[in-house]
């Protein structure tokens, strides 16, 4: 089939991961850029990108349950929190004097455990989705965030309590810490570069898994449940099984993201897992593109890099103030307003999100010069 790359002769070929040579080339180029990037960027930008990668894992998780399986969840912050605290507790320093729990375990234990604990929570919550649909489910998962916030505030043995907080997990794998300067294969890595590569590797693995899930029979079943649940059930797709799977897998992703996310800031505060975090994840999924993995990553990168872009805003618009007091709007307020405005604008004008914009551009050039 040389010279005719778009001719597929088998179903496997059509649904394979990199089904066109263009995709193969550009994914390779993107990965190469991402590997070189931390050696060229400033440390703070490198850390920001690492954050974006980790947040992407959480966004992929939300996209699995909300985008692919169509079960609206506003409770993502709760699962992120469970992952973060599981990691912090398992990794924390075991001491008898301190008030917070800690077991001093290695990353190969706490990272999967963070995912599994969150998955367990998702499993417990998923029966709600058997009985409720649509907006009822959204409101109940909203309640989950408030209950979770309360638990995090009050369980001081685990979380350190409001205003005190606790140290987050240290990414130390078999004695090698990603968060400290070190040497890998003869290449010296600074703290930011170590964290960057840790985040990148985990993201690539998790994104591949999610992409494979989406193109397997399970992914198609999710889409069937989303598009018309009764029709799906008539065709033999078990609603219970797939809703349960969607919630569990999504929460696993959230747990992994939660566990890793705070290795960067090194500190955890119980009030960070509120409604705003959930809404940020919803914003990522909607801005990036519903039911696409690359869209989730785009959206997460966009939402994570947005504050940085806004920090530059006072230079161009004098009514925005960088300090917390003066001016009509502070940068932080502008940032929150922009989440809101962007959600509204994308939903009204481009429901497929950034991924949809990309598809438009791509189709324009595919059909060029016959564009209409």
């Amino acid at each position: 089939m040389r010279g005719r790359p778009s001719l597929y002769t088998s179903y496997e070929q059509d649904s394979s991961l990199l089904n066109t040579p263009v995709k193969r080339f550009w994914v390779g180029a993107l990965l190469a850029t991402l590997v070189v990037a931390p050696f060229r960027l400033s440390p703070d930008l490198t850390l920001l990108l690492a954050t974006a990668f980790i947040v992407s894992i959480g966004a992929i998780g939300l996209n699995i349950v909300t985008g692919y399986a169509g079960q609206v969840s506003l409770g993502h912050a709760f699962f992120i929190g469970i992952g973060a605290y599981t990691a912090a507790v398992l990794n924390g320093e075991p001491s008898t004097t301190s008030d917070v729990l800690g077991y001093g375990l290695d990353m190969w234990i706490w990272l999967p455990a963070a995912g599994l604990m969150a998955a367990l929570a998702g499993l417990i919550v998923s029966p709600l989705a058997f009985r409720l649909r649509g907006l009822y489910l959204a409101i109940v998962t909203l309640g989950l965030v408030f209950i979770g916030e309360h638990i995090f505030r009050e369980a001081e043995v685990v979380t350190g309590g409001v205003g005190v907080g606790r140290r987050a997990a240290e990414p130390e794998l078999f004695g090698f810490s990603f968060a400290d300067p070190g040497t890998v294969l003869g290449v010296p890595l600074a703290r930011d570069q170590g964290l960057y590569f840790m985040a990148l590797v985990v993201l690539v693995v998790m994104a591949l898994l999610a992409r494979n899930l989406a193109r397997s029979s399970v992914g198609r079943a999710f889409a069937a449940v989303r598009d018309r649940d009764i029709a799906a059930e008539v065709m033999g797709v078990s609603l219970r099984k797939h809703k349960l799977m969607a919630f569990t897998i999504s929460s696993f992703y959230a747990g992994i993201a939660g566990g890793l996310l705070y290795t960067i800031t090194r500190f955890l505060e119980p009030s960070s897992f509120g409604l705003l975090l959930s809404v940020q994840f919803i914003a990522m999924v909607l801005i990036g593109g519903v039911a696409t993995i690359s869209g989730s990553i785009l959206g997460a990168a966009f939402v994570t890099l947005l504050p940085r872009a806004i920090e530059e805003a006072p230079r161009f618009a004098p009514f925005i103030s960088a300090s917390a007091s003066g001016g009509f709007l502070t940068t932080q307020q502008l940032e929150q307003i922009l989440y809101g405005v962007l959600i509204v604008v994308f939903l009204i004008f481009e429901p497929r999100g950034l991924f949809g914009l990309w598809v438009r551009v791509r189709n324009y050039f595919k059909a060029w010069p016959f564009s209409y």
Binding site: V72, P127, L128, R131, L132, R133, G134, L135, Y136, A138, I139, V140, L142, G143, L144, F146, I147, H150, R153, E154, A155, I230, A231, V234, L275, V279, I282, A283, L286, F328, L329, T330, Q333, Q336, I337, Y339, G340, V341, L342, I343, V344, L347, I348, P351
Partner: protein, 297 residues
């Protein structure tokens, strides 16, 4: 016994505030099939407007309240026209998420205007009390119960006996059929948003009586949602009952939880509405009075 009655009254008053908000949720849901997550923003906007007209412009309290209700209703009208009307026919989930976006914007702006201090709404009740035997009741609690009862009954009468109310019920029942009868469905959408905005402002003022309003006040409105869902999202009477139940649970847990269930920590009453919601929905997925969805294949 005194303690029991006092917490019951407090819970009932809180439930009345939820009822005002719940009716707003239900009116919008019935006419547009959207859960309006922007109601917390509208509520805090209304409450701030009372502060603004009452304290900053130093108007009479009742005049300030009236103007605030009007302002919130106008704001709701604007939101409906700019952000909700273009989305007609799109998935309801998308519209609900849009209202979340609007809520964020509203809350940030109002919080900026509010500042970091607690602001007093300058209500005429203050912390004055009423004594019935041994039971001491705050006047503001009596006021909110009466106000909610009057406003909600007026609304029910409005829906039942006026032509516009009839039009709204018709549009809620079947939009196309209503349009075919010459009812302007757009007007119904606008009116229901304005009504909900006004109710939210009234509720916001009552939330502010006693302790004043601050940047966290908006979250009170989210606690009305469990009441709405509890009663069934498409039933006004149900929502009122649900809101009162949630309020009573909150009142009792406020009084008795530290005594009997102390291990749950402080401020449990703030999450009790959601716990009640979880339990009820697992037993009755459509709430106490909601109509089960009939699926035709």
């Amino acid at each position: 016994m005194t303690r029991f009655l006092q917490s019951a009254v407090a819970g009932f008053a809180q439930g009345s505030i939820y009822a005002l908000l719940a009716v707003g949720f239900v009116i919008i849901y019935k006419s547009t099939r959207v859960v309006n997550f922007a109601l917390p923003g509208l509520m805090i906007l209304g409450a701030y407007m009372v502060v603004y007209f009452g304290s900053v412009l130093a108007l009479n309290f009742w005049l300030a309240l009236g103007l605030a209700i009007l302002a919130a209703a106008l704001c709701a009208l604007g939101i409906e026209r700019l952000a909700i009307r273009p989305m007609i026919g799109k998935p309801v989930f998308a519209i609900a998420i849009i209202t979340i976006g609007i809520d964020i914007v509203l809350r940030v702006i109002v919080n900026d205007l509010l500042g970091s201090n607690v602001r007093n709404v300058r209500d005429p009740w203050g912390l004055k009390t009423l004594e019935l035997g041994a039971v001491v009741i705050q006047q503001r609690r009596v006021a909110v119960v009466i106000a909610a009862a009057v406003v909600v009954s007026l609304l029910l009468v409005f829906f039942k006996y006026t032509r516009i109310g009839l039009a709204m019920r018709a549009a809620a029942f079947d939009q196309e059929a209503a349009m075919a009868q010459g009812i302007s469905v757009g007007m119904v959408f606008a009116l229901s948003w304005a009504l909900a905005g006004g109710l939210a402002a009234l509720a916001g003022m009552f939330v502010g009586t006693g302790s004043g309003i601050d940047q966290q006040t908006a979250f009170v409105a989210i606690k009305a949602l469990p009441g709405v869902i509890l009663g069934g999202i498409d039933s006004i009477q149900g929502a009122i009952v649900g809101a009162l139940i949630v309020g009573l649970f909150e009142g009792f847990s406020n009084t008795y939880q530290t005594q009997y269930l102390g291990f749950l920590g402080e401020n449990v009453s703030q999450v009790v509405p959601y716990v009640v919601l979880f339990v009820v929905l697992l037993v009755r997925p459509y709430g106490l009075f909601g109509t089960p969805e009939i699926e035709r294949v």
